[in-house]
């Protein structure tokens, strides 16, 4: 298939990029292109202009920023997966990045592109919501910081306003007693998550003090399993409490997405099994951490 004709810009600064987005109505930001270009070839997306942010300096890279770690928007998945800093201080994110797509996708696809695209089957959104990450965006009216949980609004829809570009993602540094895990069942063709679960837990003196459980792939946006918190906090993490927490998943998504590969019912079931296993793995890691 062929995309429709479009104009192509490669600005050097964010300000230029914002101005181009404002000037060309319906223009789209191009980063790794791994979601946008297939959509254009299928003519699901027909932007009249592309603003390639690949030449803008300072948008890529991973660095500690106080109690958080900043990941530039055009940082590719492979870099996140291989980051020693993240592996030490926020291991959930590299664990997630390593499971995205295949080698080619991980070498080209970017964290900013992935979250701005907001595919319901993408991996990062689930992990970022579970981590309580922050999305940094810049637009004509300056910079905004948006909690990941508020960033994902609906299918392929984010809190970004016209002209705004994701510039970075901030993830908290995990402390002692924290454990996390991301598990997914990949679609055999696309490797997108058919269902996924991310768990971040804190354990103090053998008792759970925080349990952040989020499931992905089953609905338009990542779903936080709030009741998992009730089932676990203040309790000893064991098969019973973990099972009770994961059991909350089944009731949480009344109208799950389904397709020919996996019905909605099956996806929710997978999510609940993955939730249970992710929690168990997270607690195991918390013990060691």
């Amino acid at each position: 298939m062929y995309s429709e004709s479009f104009e192509y810009f490669r600005p050097k600064t964010l300000a230029e990029a914002s101005a181009l987005l404002k000037k060309h109505r319906g223009a789209r930001v191009l980063a790794g292109g791994h979601s946008l270009l297939p959509a254009m070839k299928f003519r699901l997306a027909t932007p009249k202009a592309l603003v390639d942010i690949g030449a803008i300096k300072g948008l890529s890279g991973i660095a500690a920023k106080g109690k958080a770690i900043g990941i530039g928007a055009t940082t590719v998945h492979a870099e996140v997966a291989a980051s020693k800093l993240l592996q030490r201080s926020c291991p959930l994110l590299p664990e997630t990045a390593a499971q995205i797509g295949d080698v080619q996708v991980r070498n080209r696809g970017t964290i900013g592109g992935s979250i701005a695209h907001a595919d319901p089957a993408a991996d990062y959104p689930t992990a970022l919501v579970a981590l309580g990450a922050t999305v940094v965006v810049r637009g004509p009216r300056g910079e905004r910081k948006i909690p990941a949980e508020d960033f994902f609004v609906d299918l392929f829809t984010t809190a970004l306003k016209p002209g705004e570009i994701v510039t970075a993602v901030l993830v908290p540094v995990s402390g002692k007693g924290t454990g996390a895990a991301y598990l997914k069942h990949p679609h055999p063709a696309s490797r997108y998550a058919v269902a996924a679960a991310a768990a971040v837990v804190d354990v103090a003196n053998g008792v759970c003090s925080r349990a952040s459980l989020v499931i992905g792939g089953v609905s338009a946006t990542p779903v936080r399993v709030l009741k998992a918190q009730d089932a676990l906090v203040g309790k000893k993490p064991d098969a019973a409490s973990i099972g009770a927490a994961a059991a909350q998943v089944e009731a949480l998504v009344p109208d799950p997405m389904g397709d020919v590969y996996a019905s909605g019912e099956f996806r929710v079931h997978l999510a609940s099994v993955l939730a249970k296993r992710a929690l168990a793995a997270a607690f195991e890691r918390a013990k060691k951490g």
């Binding site: 298939m1 062929y2 297939p38 055999p188 063709a189 397709d259 590969y261 099994v273």
Partner: protein, 812 residues
């Protein structure tokens, strides 16, 4: 006679003759071809599943920049189709579209983009007709049938045949089993998309380069549709980047570019998009099956009653043959003394189904092998032993008059049973892990050509020049399977030269004698036998001349290592080029021919043309699975497969074909499916004509495969060789399903065996319901009264009788 001499090349894993070009990316596929002044073609395809075309307005498209010509169905009114009985396709639909993707107009423009953009400017006015989406809908009475040919309504073909006294067979059985199975449709997914270039020259002659498996059939169809003498048309099959049956029909785009080249006087090219390849399809027929089996307590089959219902899609394609094939080969593996087969194919408003690797036989093979596993488990027998103990004997005639020659299935079973540790591990692994076994057989070439004729099915011409150069001309088509390499190897073997020194001219209807094409696993056997004949004739000419020169009897002349010499005193002799000069000096210009015609089939009943083959290959496979009982997700860590290939001409190619078949079979078993939905306008549309969603295994899913080659030479094969390109696919889907049963105790009687189905069956089992997922019932199909054929055992002569046959020999 050639097979009696010890071989020096045949049997060794020598280099492919096209290997260097392939691995360095220099093979010229059809899409690599470009000619001066060439135009590019795009097809406008229907976006509705079933409709009458009321009007087409191409005026705006014709006026668009870069557009040189536009064609519609009115320009190409003559129908065509691969089988003489189903001439139901048009190059461009004249008055009706029958599936989303059916082409209605074609544009030739100076660039591909210009042609593509002009598609939007063609206006087509449709009158929607009710679409037919499923087998059940196809069986129902039709207000507006999809075609006006066929057996009734939307039922394209009904077949019913009975061999021997089936009622008596069931009466004799200790147990009778009755189960239903379903095999979902899937597609070939060749890496190369179909492409063609047509060039209508100023001499009034047409040349078409095309990625086709069957240039001879394309040649015939072009002559018919274009109304041109065949002698003025040349079809050149370019190397195929994979075929698997998906390029063995005649395709509308091939005819369209030929027509557009004729009207513009310029070369015209088309390369389909991946999406369009999904519409061309001709892949596996979705097939519902009901199997009734009568068995003795020891597992011996007394009667088999097999019913099939195939979803054919929008056109005939090979469908009549496919229908027969769903009933043909059940008898060549295990003894089936009495057999009844009823088959039906329905038209639906979906891309047409046709031949995919195994053509019509993987579906019944899945059902039969799953059924045998059930029977073995029910009778408390070992599933490997139940097969091993009831094999159809070698050199026998089956109930439906297929002539089995060499038969290495027993050896195949022994190999995979031993290697997999079957006896110690099957049924004894921890819950979640299991082993499954299945076997299969496939034809080595169909006994009959697609159109009735008495000419050879394969021809070879061989030229030896005075420089010692050998050129082999053959209509065979290299689709990646190695047909060129086999031709070169056989000729090199007989003439004692290096295969890489031989020049090959193949798949060119102007230059090469006809070979029917690369389908039905026919090429090695048929071209091989033709090549042996041509090469032996050349050898005889050269040996005679050299013998005269050396003053020796011709029997003493040997050919090896590029020399022709006295076998009793090898130093005495000459180089092959010197021998060629001697030959040409004595006989004049050196050229020989060879041909091959399969032996006549034993069956003489209506339908006996589908199933006979010069030889049958055999395979046995054991698959190991690891099932996660909580989710139904499973992995296949290892597969053991043994294949009776008769004799390896080139062991490396044989191993490649076995493992490629395993890969494709595993894709069908685990995930591949052509899935459709009905949209808001009641159109039946392909859910995802793209590889982003069409699931196929990658290296990540491909398990370790341990391959065993069993060599039980068949007298009909060249050096004893039988097929290998298709047969090894067949045991994989049932072996996977059987392994899942061994692992977690549930039956998935449907292909693909998806995690969700495994989990559904596990859930049913936990709730005390039958531990199975599969079709609940078989639809009511108006099969006719079967033809009755007395089996060879009953003293039959292969002809149908007027009335039902009883075992006692009388008529009922």
């Amino acid at each position: 006679m050639s097979s009696r001499r010890p071989t020096r090349i045949v049997g060794r894993p020598f280099t492919r003759v096209d290997g260097a070009a392939k691995v360095t990316g220099q093979t010229k596929f059809a899409d690599d071809l470009a000619l001066p002044r060439m135009l590019h073609c795009k097809l406008l395809r229907a976006k509705v599943a079933h409709a009458r075309i009321l009007a087409i307005d191409v005026s705006k498209a014709l006026a668009a920049p870069g557009v040189v010509a536009v064609a519609t169905g009115r320009d190409l009114p003559v129908p065509f189709g691969i089988l003489p009985v189903s001439q139901d396709e048009h190059a461009l639909c004249p008055d009706r579209v029958r599936y989303v993707g059916d082409p209605v107009a074609a544009i030739a423009a100076t660039s591909e983009d210009a042609a593509f953009d002009a598609l939007d400017l063609v206006r087509v006015e449709y009158e929607p007709l009710p679409p037919v989406g499923t087998i059940e809908e196809g069986l129902a009475p039709a207000a507006v049938p999809i075609h006006d040919h066929g057996d009734q309504g939307n039922i394209h073909k009904l077949v019913a045949m009975q061999f021997g006294d089936v009622d008596e067979g069931f009466a004799r059985a200790d147990r009778v089993y009755d189960n239903t199975y379903f095999y979902e449709g899937n597609t070939h997914l060749a890496l190369e998309q179909h492409a063609s270039v047509a060039d209508f020259g100023p001499d009034g002659k047409l040349t078409l380069w095309s990625s086709t498996q069957t240039p001879h059939y394309v040649h015939r169809a072009l002559a018919k549709v274009l109304g041109m003498p065949a002698s003025r048309i040349r079809v050149i099959a370019t190397p195929n980047g994979g075929g698997f049956g998906g390029k063995s029909d005649v395709f509308n785009h091939e005819i369209v570019v030929a027509h557009l080249s004729r009207v513009t006087g310029r070369p015209v090219k088309i390369c389909l998009t991946r999406e369009e390849v999904f519409y061309c399809h001709r892949g596996r027929h979705p097939t519902l099956m009901r199997v009734r089996t009568g068995v003795k307590k020891d597992g011996a089959i007394t009667a088999l009653h097999f019913q099939t219902a195939l979803d054919g899609g929008g056109y005939g394609s090979y469908g009549v043959a496919s229908t027969y094939y769903t009933g043909a080969l059940q008898t060549v593996t295990y003894r089936v003394p009495t057999y009844r087969f009823e088959g039906a194919r329905v038209f639906t408003n979906k891309p047409p189904c046709g031949p995919k690797r195994g053509h019509g036989t993987p579906q019944p093979r899945f059902a039969l092998e799953a059924e045998l596993d059930r029977i073995a488990c029910d009778l408390g027998l070992d599933p490997a032993a139940i097969r091993r103990e009831h094999l159809q004997p070698a050199n026998s005639l089956t109930a439906n008059y297929l002539r089995v020659g060499s038969m290495g299935l027993g050896a195949c079973i022994d190999k995979v049973v031993a290697a997999s540790g079957w006896k110690k591990r099957r049924g004894k692994l921890p819950f979640g892990r299991g082993l499954g076994i299945a076997c299969s057989s496939y034809l080595t070439g169909a006994g009959l050509p697609i159109y009735w004729n008495q000419m050879p099915q394969s021809g070879v011409q061989l030229k030896v020049d005075r420089g010692g150069g050998v050129t082999v001309f053959c209509g065979s088509t290299e689709i990646g399977q190695g047909s060129d390499t086999i031709l070169a190897a056989i000729v090199a073997e007989i003439l004692g030269i290096d295969p890489l020194d031989i020049r090959l001219v193949t798949g060119d209807t102007d230059l090469t004698p006809v070979d029917l094409g690369s389908y039905s696993s026919r090429v090695t056997l048929m071209t091989g036998n033709a090549a042996i004949q041509a090469a032996e004739r050349a050898r005889e000419l050269i040996a005679g001349a050299v013998a005269k020169k050396l003053e020796l009897p011709p029997e003493r002349i040997g050919f090896a290592e590029g020399r022709v010499f006295d076998v009793e005193n090898p130093e005495k002799g000459m180089t092959f080029p010197e021998a060629a000069v001697a030959g040409e000096s004595l006989h004049g210009t050196l050229g020989t021919v060879g041909h091959y015609r399969p032996p006549p089939s034993a069956g003489r009943y209506r339908g006996a043309g589908v199933g006979p083959s010069p030889a049958y290959s055999y395979s046995a496979a054991v698959v190991e699975v690891e099932v996660d009982p909580e989710t139904g997700i499973y992995a296949v860590p290892k597969i053991w497969i043994a294949h009776d290939v008769g004799k390896c001409i080139n062991a490396a190619l044989v191993m490649g074909q076995v493992e490629g078949s395993v890969y494709m079979g595993l894709g069908e078993a685990m995930m591949e499916e052509m899935a459709y939905r009905t949209d808001a306008n009641r159109n039946v549309v392909h859910k995802f004509p793209s590889v982003l969603e069409y699931k196929s295994p990658t290296t990540l899913e491909m398990p370790e495969v341990e391959t065993f080659l069993v060599e039980d030479p068949d007298p009909n094969g060249p050096y004893g060789a039988k097929e290998v390109g298709q047969g090894p696919l067949l045991p994989i889907p049932p072996a996977v399903a059987n392994a899942v049963y061994d692992a977690v105790g549930v039956r998935v009687d449907e292909v693909p065996v998806t995690p969700e189905k495994v989990r559904r069956a596990l859930k049913a089992k936990a709730q005390g319901k039958p531990a199975r997922v599969g079709p609940e019932r078989f639809p009511a199909v108006p099969y006719p009264e079967p033809i009755h054929v007395r089996t060879p055992e009953e003293g039959g002569d292969g002809k149908a009788e007027d009335a039902p046959v009883t075992a006692a020999g009388g008529v009922r």
